[in-house]
């Protein structure tokens, strides 16, 4: 049960009222009206700006309205590296958000610290707060960001709170795609 796909009345005509579960209706409404709180710290912010701008246009997914008060927002986009100094700020913002709330880790630094494996960087925001969707990339392309948003919408619709990760659209190792050819042995067998 997820989307309201058809509306069927008692006499069989496709007009009138729809029947659905209340939860499903609620999550359907939620997934298309996400108010976002962009917690923008670093380089990924540049791609975030691109995603908001007309070419990629995040508004198509009902998530264009930024709210700079955590109390009014549903999705926390953690965009960029979280330093140890920033960590208490991030946790506090998360705690101030109203339920239901979701968190998207935008980019490698937010997901796992990236290549900043050092004295000042938090190795991934999941060390501080829960996270729903991870978007890999340094920074991720806008297409990947939109994939991440859609993944979150799916999760909202199905009520799944387990973390998910955005995967590449094309699997480079899949022989169907013909992107990578690995020569594995001297016998010349190509895989």
């Amino acid at each position: 049960m997820g989307e309201v796909t058809r509306t069927v009345t008692i006499d069989g005509s496709e007009q009138g009222f729809a029947t659905t579960k209340f939860d499903a209706l609620l999550s359907w409404a939620r997934k298309y009206s996400l108010f976002q709180y962009p917690f923008v710290t670093a380089c990924c912010g540049m791609e975030f700006m691109s995603t908001v701008s007309p070419r990629f246009d995040i508004a198509r997914f009902g998530a264009e309205a930024p709210r700079f008060s955590p109390r009014q927002s549903d999705v926390l986009w953690v965009v960029g590296t979280i330093s140890q100094r920033q960590a208490p700020v991030l946790r506090r913002i998360y705690e101030q958000m109203m339920d239901p709330k979701w968190v998207i880790a935008f980019g490698t630094c937010a997901s796992c610290g990236g290549f900043y494996d050092n004295y000042t960087t938090v190795p991934g925001l999941d060390k501080i707060i829960p996270c729903d969707v991870y978007i890999p990339g340094c920074p991720p392309r806008p297409e990947a960001i939109l994939d991440g948003l859609m993944l979150l919408q799916d999760k909202i619709a199905s009520g799944d709170r387990r973390p998910g990760v955005v995967k590449p659209r094309q699997d480079p190792a899949d022989p169907k795609n013909d992107l990578v050819t690995l020569r594995t042995s001297a016998s010349g067998r190509d895989e």
Partner: protein, 195 residues
Amino acid sequence: MSEAALSRLKERFGAAILETSSFLGDDTAVVDAARWKEIALFLRDDSKLSFDMPIDLCGVDYPERLPRMEVVLHVYSTSLRHRLRMKARVGDDEMNGAEIDSLVPVWSGVEWLERETYDMSGVTFRGHPDLRRILMYPEFEGHPLRKDYAANRTQPLIPYRTEEEAGVPLEKLAPFGPDEGMSFGRRPHLPHSEN
């Protein structure tokens, strides 16, 4: 850059200029740390030098040398368009006595640079109006750019979540398991299974 600046410094301060060198067009003077500020004032005010812009100030740590820390200042003259690098060496092998006069009265722009050098390398600037940490938080102990500070030694401000709190494994979450994110060619997205 101008070697004339170096000879002028030597002429004026004599023994306080410990070494001079010119390498690839960069002129360097190593000066006596005790006369750091006096020389800086001269650099700014002398009409043939008139170094009016502080470019950079940093510390370079040489643990095997004595004195251990090199404080490196780069200055530039916008009117004469020449540059100079001035160094002073301070601190014993435990960084005791790593003190030097603050140059804030000479160039106001070094205020943050000195705070940064204090924060990162642990050099104390005498007479600095507001010597606090700038890049790291006040609770941080040690000085990360010293060679003996391990690069990956973190000092978290808030404790990390435990696995009980999170309810999910934290050490290696699904995309960052043993395969380090190379999740293609595997089973479709199943975040907390054993793989």
